[in-house]
């Protein structure tokens, strides 16, 4: 390896957040030759922002975090094309157009693909998903407005499903939302939060059907969606667009027949190394052989993709580093309600866990704390409609602070814009009432806030 004439050539397959983060960090620490290959679009764009393009908040170009000259300036070569197979013996990527590209090290960052469960009619005109840029084009074609699309049915009650509902709603298209579970996203959210979101969805005029599965999609003589039929009631719902948002799985079909070991995703060890030397996998497509802590083996979120990118770059540049993310965090937005989470708040409490739930009278804000019954150690928090400070929770989770500490310092944790109504008083009073505790609210202290170790420099 080291004998090769430098510079070493690094090829990154996939230009999403994980691939691009890896490329940027490799460039920071090395003079290697870097090529990023992707099929979807020549430039990195933010997948999470696709919805805002359809909604008219952004133009597609705004979803691209770097100007075009950035890539040239940083000597990161971009190549658009679809990789068909990987010749791992000779270290060569084969493209669908017959081209080939050699590499010394290869980072696989090929993301996910939407799930399809073999429903009848799932390939009809007007059935679409929401993952790729091309899906936006389908949306513009089949659901440009509520004249062309009289009703849309969305199948699958996860984060992408609700985003799609918000998108269609923004163009005044009536939406029926089929959710398999008894309450929205209740595999992840506890009952209170899940119910709060059910209300929000319904308040927006979305026809939310809980406990409902899709049976089949019916088409007209032109192969265009005409209606769907539900599994339970066998009810037929007329519609011209069907959005399938029933989760994603790692996109690894191009590895079929290769000697890279895969399971659901590409199997990697803690160092993000696959079974073959010089081949790494990061982001949505990677699967940890041993899950990290309480995390899932396949983590399909933005932040973890980015962290894996940061980590693998260290390894590539000679500082072999394990993927060891800090405390879990995530965020989303459900129509007008923002959601953040730090640490773990499972849908159902575990044996050693106690919970504290507070909801504001508006029914649009709530927090849910999870802590250890015995040691009172703080385990996690869900927050809806109130922004909280990542640095605060990162610290309390790492330092193993108690729930009492968190509540007493809740003013420090608040991240809402200035002049927003504060609720820490109400929250702490309710906690004291329920738990028979006598916590005293501490006033916000800039000194404490800005002396958080992992942030101050």
């Amino acid at each position: 390896m080291q004998k090769k004439i430098s510079p070493k050539s690094i090829v990154i397959l996939g230009n999403g957040i994980s691939g691009i983060t890896a490329a940027r960090h490799i460039r920071k620490h090395s003079e290697y030759q870097i090529t990023v290959v992707s099929e979807e679009h020549p430039y990195f764009f933010s997948r999470t922002a696709l919805m805002y393009v359809y909604m008219g908040h952004l133009k597609f170009e705004h979803t691209q975090p770097y100007e075009k000259h950035f890539w040239k300036k940083n000597k990161i070569d971009l190549k658009q094309g679809r990789v068909e197979t990987i010749d791992t013996k000779n270290k060569i990527l084969q493209f669908s157009d017959g081209e080939a590209l050699g590499y010394d090290s290869l980072i696989l960052a090929t993301g996910s693909k939407p799930n399809r469960f073999g429903w009848k009619g799932q390939d009809a005109q007007g059935v679409l998903g929401l993952y790729h840029k091309q899906d936006l084009e389908s949306l513009e074609k089949f659901a440009p407005d509520n004249q062309a699309c009289r009703r849309a049915v969305i199948v699958g009650g996860g984060l992408i499903g609700i985003e799609l509902a918000e998108m269609l709603h923004s163009r005044h298209i009536p939406v029926t939302f089929l959710v398999r579970e008894t309450s929205f996203w209740n595999g992840v959210l506890p009952e209170g939060e899940s119910e709060l979101i059910n209300r929000e969805i319904r308040e927006k005029g979305i026809d939310l059907r809980l406990n409902t599965n899709l049976k089949e999609i019916k088409t007209d003589e032109n192969g265009q969606v005409r209606s769907i039929v539900t599994e339970e009631e066998c009810e037929e719902i007329l519609c011209t667009v069907v959005g399938l948002t029933t989760g994603v799985s790692p996109n690894i079909s191009y590895l079929k027949g290769s000697d890279i070991t895969t399971n659901r995703g590409i199997l990697v060890n803690r160092y993000l190394e696959t079974n073959l030397p010089d081949i790494y996998a990061i982001g949505d497509c990677a699967e940890q052989q041993e899950p990290v802590g309480q995390r899932r083996p396949v983590e399909a979120v933005w932040y973890t993709g980015r962290m894996m990118g940061e980590t693998v770059a260290q390894t590539i540049c000679g500082n072999r580093t394990a993927y060891q993310p800090g405390p879990w965090f995530n965020s989303a937005k459900f129509f007008d309600i923002e959601y953040q989470t730090y640490g773990w708040v499972w849908a159902k409490p575990k044996e050693n866990e106690a919970r504290f739930y507070w909801e504001y009278t508006s029914g649009k804000k709530c927090i849910h704390l999870n802590f250890d019954t015995k040691s009172r150690m703080f385990i996690g928090i869900n927050t809806f409609g109130i922004r909280l400070r990542h640095a605060f929770f990162d610290r309390v989770l790492q330092e193993g602070e108690t729930v009492d500490y968190v509540l007493e310092h809740f003013a420090d944790a608040n991240f809402d814009p200035e002049f927003y109504p504060q609720h820490d008083e109400e929250i702490i009073n309710q906690f004291n009432r329920e738990q028979g505790a006598q916590l005293q609210r501490k006033k916000r202290s800039w000194k404490r806030i800005f002396s958080i170790p992992s942030q101050s420099l």
Binding site: I17, S46, T48, A49, Y52, M55, G56, H57, L58, K59, H62, T63, Q64, P65, E67, E203, W302, Y303, R306, M307, E310, T311, Q314, T321, A322, Y323, Q324, P325, G326, P327, F329, S331, A332, K333, F335, D336, E338, Q340, R387, L388, R389, H390, A391, D394, Q398, F415, D416, P417, E418, F419, Y420, P421, W446, K447, I449, F450, S454, Q455, S456, L457
Partner: protein, 526 residues
């Protein structure tokens, strides 16, 4: 609700159409008695002008202000040409032709508008306000519950540089050109506000009174729109109330009331060097002649710029001025809000901005230096450059063309803060303080950014907010006016405007919060 909006739009457009048509109507006639008055008040000594005037103008009627001013200006030109040739300097009429024509036309009080001021006020301002409110208010229902309300902005022809945007642009630019350079064509508009001016200051309105009044009206109506659009965000509603208050009370009412009590017109919040003629000799002379009160203004003006401004920027950032007090900022944040996303975010624009805005600051300081030197030494020129012509150049290029025509006229094309970003010398000064000595920053919430780009797109100052946020870095930029919109519309709650200790305010990061603790510390502490 939708129909109500459409009716509102119809009424608004009718008001606007009447307003514009006033440029072309009226019959103007100068009676011999009025003629005498003009001669008296202007102290005209030119017999050429008098005879031209008598033959071509007096007693004749003109069907609109263009024809009338054309006749006046040609008489003036003819007279001046003759006298200049004959070197009869005392007979030359030195007034600017358009202003000269404006004064005369305005004083005739002729035409249908002048005779029905109140009626026409209702047909223009009245209909405009009513229509606009009918258009805006239904949004309480139509926009749905409080939240981020940017749906369809890039689809609408009004806000995506489509044809409605371009029409608005033409209208605004046309308006400013008339206002600054051809007041003689908008006499009818000024008549509309005569009654209000009389009530306030006891004088008839000038075109500047018209502008001030219109400014307040537009800001008020568009502030209603802000209240509805950003009703989820207390920072926005308070800030809007504040700029509205300062515009109406400080920029409009107090100065007019001062005039009523025969005091100099002064806007107490307008800080030098935005108030670029504060140190011009005519102003200094006027203030000093005024005695105690004038002196108070003089001292206040200096203290405002040298003490109040930097101290407040230290504690709160430049936002206290640009987004809470300033009139230009006030218009940008109300009338300009629908256009905020049109600002240019490229690196090139940032470079240009730094050159231009600091260039204007230097320019403003240089002319002030010249002015003060001339004032104290009595010399009319410094190192061969005439102070007066330097002042005129600044007034024309920066004060009128940049701040007005480009600054506001270009809202629908380049966004709403073109002036504040590229041209305002005060902003440059505030920005330097904010960058180097201030407690203000926009905190980035650890690793929560998803690089969606909403913040950058809606930053009116063209700051690439995302470039910082996605690296976990706080935003400390001289140009940030602290409008708080990036924070308001971030779908992941990543941004918070804060004043806190200076230590750690600027936090370059290599690895974001949330990753391996040791790695974060290792790399970020390097």
């Amino acid at each position: 609700m939708k129909t109500l909006q459409q009716i509102g739009l119809g009424i608004f457009l009718t008001g606007l159409a009447v307003f514009v048509s006033l440029l072309f109507v009226g019959s103007y006639k100068l009676t011999p008695a009025q003629f005498e008055e003009v001669i008296q008040s202007k102290g005209i000594q030119s017999e050429v002008f008098l005879s031209e005037f008598n033959n071509q103008i007096v007693g004749k009627s003109f069907s609109n202000s263009h024809a009338f001013s054309a006749a006046l200006i040609s008489a003036l030109d003819k007279a001046n040409a003759t006298h200049k040739k004959e070197r009869e300097w005392s007979k030359v009429i030195w007034s600017k032709p358009n202003s000269f024509a404006y004064d005369i036309i305005k004083s005739t009080e002729a035409g249908v508008v002048a005779k029905n001021k109140a009626l026409f006020w209702w047909l223009t301002f009245g209909l405009g306000i009513l229509g606009a409110l009918l258009f805006i208010l239904p949004n309480v229902v139509l926009l749905g519950p409080p939240g981020i309300k940017n749906n369809g902005i890039w689809h609408s022809k009004a806000t995506n540089r489509g044809w409605i945007g371009w029409m608005t642009f033409l209208f605004l630019v046309g308006f400013y050109i008339l206002l600054y350079f051809y007041p003689n064509y908008i006499v009818n508009w000024v008549y509309l506000v005569d009654p209000i001016s009389l009530k306030l200051s006891g004088n008839l309105a000038s075109q500047w009174f018209l502008y001030g009044f219109l400014y307040c009206v537009v800001m008020t109506v568009m502030a209603v729109r802000m209240y509805i659009k950003y009703r989820n965000n207390k920072y926005q509603t308070l800030r809007t109330t504040s700029v509205l208050f300062f515009q109406i009370v400080f920029a409009f009412l107090i100065p007019e009331i001062l005039v009523r009590f025969e005091r100099p017109w002064y806007d107490f919040k307008n800080a030098f060097p935005l108030d670029y003629d504060f140190f011009f000799s005519w102003n200094l002379k006027q203030l000093i002649a005024e005695g105690g009160f004038g002196l108070f203004i003089l001292v206040w003006g200096i203290v405002l710029t040298l003490v109040v401004v930097p101290v407040m920027v230290y504690f709160f950032g430049k936002r206290w001025y640009c987004s809470w007090v300033c009139g230009c900022g006030g218009l940008a944040e109300t009338l300009g809000d629908p256009y905020r996303h049109l600002s240019n975010k490229s690196l090139g624009a940032w470079k240009l901005e730094r050159w231009m805005v600091h260039g204007v600051l230097v320019f403003a300081l240089v002319i002030t230096g010249f002015t003060l030197y001339s004032y104290f030494s009595g010399a009319s020129s410094v190192i061969g450059i005439k102070t007066q012509s330097l002042q005129d150049t600044y007034g024309f290029l920066i004060g009128s063309v940049f701040a007005g025509v480009i600054g506001t006229g270009f809202y629908p094309i380049f966004g709403n803060r073109v002036w504040c970003r590229f041209g305002c010398p005060l902003a440059a000064y505030l920005g330097i303080v904010q960058r180097f000595k201030s407690r203000f920053r926009i905190t980035t919430n650890g690793g929560q950014c998803i690089s969606c780009g909403n913040c950058s797109t809606y930053c009116e100052q063209g700051i690439d907010v995302r470039a910082y946020a996605q690296k976990g870095e706080n935003i400390v930029r001289s140009s940030c006016v602290g409008c708080g919109i990036c924070s308001a519309i971030c779908p992941r709650g990543v941004l918070k405007l804060e004043n806190g200790p200076e230590k750690g305010r600027i936090n370059p990061t290599e690895i974001l919060l949330g990753n391996d603790v040791d790695l974060v510390q290792l790399l970020n502490k390097k």
